[in-house]
């Protein structure tokens, strides 16, 4: 009979033509792991990956270095030139508060930039074929909505789901395809060049934390610099002398940066607070999806809980969904070069201790 030397493996760990890829933990042998490629290496979107897939950013990192540079520079100038004076004349809590705010800002920024915003993996070949078949079947009958949209009713509101030609699937509600990153992103808010990434379902709360804490930080630094200059000029020397005493370029730079930042970032924070409270995305707000522009009847936001507190909790404190793209998972062992799709399926023979890897 069979001298079975196999061990019971999870069904997903087995490969057949067109079956699922193995789980990320890798039920297969460790010695082949070193030669196997990870899924991020064949990711079809325009993203860049670092640290073996742990960190991801958009292909065009935009002005993220500028954002980081400005924040770090202004904060350093603050700590070096204003803190000593203020600690002496006001209170020693100032550097502590400044430091805490600065740390929070940087951490939130990095969390926003380096996280997967909620990218949807592209449909597998089988799925795409199945969907096409469904579309063709429905198109054969008369007077239906154009075949490439699907209508669903969410909370008594009609929502049209569009078919994404790049990802070959019907986009879930609130999902949008970002042309810069070439990915469909869930609960797509916008693509932020300052942060160098899309803002979507998985990193919106970090983005919000970033802009709110940044408004506090810039307001704080602005206040401290103003206090510093005021105190100096009160010493009977006048404002101009005061500015000349503290290194002039630094104080002026801090003032200018903070002045412009405070207004723009406070404005942005206010706008996003409104969005959070009404459970809207920037994308929906700009397009006017729920303000009745597109439809004849009264359209209301079907995702809102109609309660500010509930909306805030849902947007900011909901359980963090996992990344769907599994970028650090291993590709199945294969005998042909990988295809453009992240999931390539080929037979894996079980019961053998050495898997053939090309």
């Amino acid at each position: 009979m069979k001298n079975c030397e196999y061990r019971q493996i999870e069904p997903q760990g087995l490969g057949t033509p067109n079956a699922a890829p193995p789980p990320p933990a890798g039920a297969n042998d460790a010695d082949t792991r070193a030669k196997r490629r990870r899924k991020w290496e064949v990711f079809p979107g325009k993203n860049r990956f670092y640290c073996d897939g742990r960190i991801m950013v958009a292909r065009q990192s935009g002005v993220l270095p500028l954002t980081l540079g400005l924040i770090v520079l202004t904060s350093c100038l603050f700590f070096v030139f204003d803190c000593p004076f203020l600690v002496e004349h006001v209170t020693s809590c100032i550097p502590a508060i400044g430091g805490a705010l600065f740390a929070f800002v940087i951490i939130s920024l990095l969390q926003t930039s380096f996280r997967d915003p909620g990218i949807l993996p592209r449909a597998t070949a089988d799925e795409a074929a199945y969907t096409e078949k469904q579309i063709d079947d429905s198109a054969s009958s008369s007077y239906r909505p154009p075949p490439r949209t699907l209508e669903v009713i969410i909370n008594q509101q009609v929502v049209k789901l569009k078919y994404c030609f790049t990802c070959k699937m019907f986009r879930p509600p609130r999902t949008s395809h970002c042309s810069l990153c070439d990915n469909c992103v869930e609960r797509f808010d916008h693509h932020c060049p300052w942060v160098g990434n899309c803002v979507g379902k998985r990193n919106y709360r970090f983005f919000y934390a970033f802009i709110v804490s940044l408004s506090f930080l810039t307001a704080f630094i602005f206040g401290c610099v103003t206090t510093h200059l005021t105190l100096r000029s009160q010493g009977g020397k006048g404002l101009i002398t005061a500015v000349q005493e503290s290194p002039p370029s630094c104080t002026a730079l801090e003032l200018i940066v903070c002045f412009f930042s405070v207004w723009s970032i406070l404005g942005l924070s206010g706008f996003h607070t409104y969005l959070v409270a009404s459970n809207l995305t920037t994308n929906e707000d700009i397009k006017g999806s729920w303000s009745g522009n597109s439809g004849v009847q009264n359209t209301v936001n079907p995702y809102s809980y109609n309660n500010i507190f509930a909306n805030c909790c849902a947007v900011l404190c909901a359980p963090l969904p996992p990344s769907l793209i599994d970028r650090r998972g291993f590709l199945p062992t294969q005998e042909s070069p990988p295809a453009a799709q992240p999931q390539v399926e080929l037979p894996v023979f079980v019961g053998k201790s050495d898997l053939t890897v090309v």
Binding site: K2, P11, E127, Y303, C317, P319, L320, P322, D326
Partner: protein, 158 residues
């Protein structure tokens, strides 16, 4: 449905049926159970019974599986005291706590993976079907692979 099919699967090879599926059976078709968006963006799957499975499994069984999956996903995304606490704690630690702690969602996903494996072992594999965990398809579909009936030939191992 072939009348002798249960006999084929219920003989001595039942404990190895999952292996046999992989090594001997070839895929006849795949069915994709789509998402159900009527309650919003929360992850739920349609309980409509696909016609391709009519000959393989009863409607009740299938609906039971999908309903349990839906309940599990609802549990993962539930907004309640626990998730708020987790959110606040995360915010206070500048979200660095997720480096050492598993989120509630991830814990439930593990439960789901276990449930699917159990269903496959007990119910679906003996009927020549295989469920794929939706997480491997981006939570878009529940993929059900239908294997060809092995009426004869290639009985013994390879």
């Amino acid at each position: 449905a072939l009348p002798h099919l249960p006999a084929l699967w219920s003989n001595t090879r039942k404990t190895h049926s999952l292996q046999d599926l992989r090594q001997q059976a070839s895929i006849a078709a795949k069915v994709f159970v789509q998402r159900d968006y009527t309650t919003g963006t929360i992850c739920q799957f349609q309980t409509k019974f696909p016609s391709e499975l009519e000959t393989r499994i009863d409607k009740q069984q299938f609906e039971e599986t999908i309903r349990t999956l839906n309940n599990l996903y609802a549990e993962a995304e539930k907004l309640g005291g626990r998730s708020y606490l987790e959110g606040c704690l995360a915010c206070v630690t500048a979200y660095t706590i997720f480096l050492c702690m598993e989120t509630h969602y991830e814990k439930v996903l593990k439960k789901i993976a276990k449930y699917i494996q159990e269903q496959n072992d007990k119910i679906y594999a003996p009927r020549g079907l295989l469920l794929t965990d939706p997480i491997e398809r981006g939570l878009r579909v529940v993929e059900i692979t239908i294997f060809e009936d092995q009426s004869n030939g290639r009985i013994e191992g390879r």
